[in-house]
């Protein structure tokens, strides 16, 4: 009985090893964070390519560089600028989901030490299958539009 239980466990472990986890099927590129004066919350932006054939869900984020992180989506619909807090972000299969100013962003709050232009910070995106995707962000000046301009 006990042997059988372990055999099942071993089988399960093999199964997970055979299939790439969610973190392995997502490529993160062009990550950047806007540096604002003082300790104001900053927006983080990135392009996420889901190379798998199923939707990958981001369910949270944590960073050693910030006290709080959360996902937001801004909109200026109807002439009002507002932000919506998101518990989850879906990355559709075989597609690139872009986090960019005016839309999806990671809100990074309470920097543990001042982040300066040119610094790199890492934010760990937690995915629904329990895997973790570390995302690298380059710190850019307040008046930047993207990673390069």
């Amino acid at each position: 009985m006990k042997t059988r239980f372990f055999a099942v466990l071993a089988g399960l472990a093999l199964c997970t090893a055979a299939h790439a986890n969610d973190a392995q099927s997502v490529q993160a590129t062009k990550g950047w964070v806007r540096v604002l004066p003082g300790n104001l919350p900053a927006g983080g932006y990135v392009e996420l390519k889901n190379t798998s054939d199923h939707t990958v869900k981001i369910v949270g984020a944590q960073s050693a560089f910030y006290g709080h992180t959360m996902f937001h989506r801004s909109s200026t619909e109807g002439g009002m600028g507002r932000m919506e807090m998101l518990d989850e972000v879906d990355l559709p299969p075989n597609a690139v989901t872009t986090f960019a100013p005016g839309g999806y962003h990671v809100m990074l709050m309470d920097a543990k030490k001042p982040v300066k232009v040119g610094d790199h910070v890492v934010v760990n995106f937690q995915l629904a299958d329990g895997s973790v995707l570390p995302v690298d962000f380059t710190a850019r000046p307040a008046n930047a539009f993207s990673l390069t301009d």
């Binding site: 806007r34 604002l36 004066p37 003082g38 104001l40 919350p41 900053a42 927006g43 709080h68 937001h72 801004s74 200026t76 002439g79 009002m80 600028g81 507002r82 932000m83 807090m85 100013p101 005016g102 962003h105 809100m107 990074l108 709050m109 000046p141 307040a142 008046n143 930047a144 539009f145």
Partner: protein
Amino acid sequence: MKLSRIGLMALLTLVLALAGCQREPQPAWRLTDVGGHLPDLDFRLTNDEGKPVTGADYRGKVVLMYFGYTHCPDVCPLTLTQLHVVLQRLGPLADDTRILFVTVDPKRDTPEIMHAYVNAFDKHAVGLVGSDSDTEALAKRYRSAFTREPDRGNGAYDVSHSSAIYIFDRDGKARLLATPSAAQDDIVHDLHLLIGLGAKS
């Protein structure tokens, strides 16, 4: 016959002359023309150096007024960056303009914080702070709106606010309205026209 023809000519000339008087030729704006529909630039607020200022202090400059707040991590920086790039494209003419960034969050936005914030975007930007009632009165004057959203639990909160950019000529007259998604080319085009109008201070 001959007389009536002369009469007709005279009448035509008069009509043309009157049509000419009625309206000055209007520049071909690309943004939304709000001339005559919104009140002149007028307020009593504190600038980011802690000095009291009024709308009259900005006469002679083309003014771009925008309501926002510094804890706004996305839309406000995007709009101010957009305006920074527009002013850069104006070159030395940018000195004839001012960006007035009015906070809708006077509880958290002190003149010092506003000073550091606006200067991170553009040297022609001025941060303006008022009491709750002064800020509300100014927003109302321009049919702008803002709402403090519920606390997120850690004392942090967002403020939803009108995203329009109000553009005034050198005489403080409201002339144009732009949205944050307006094409930079269109804003640059119209600012060139506005800078060419009216007297420099």
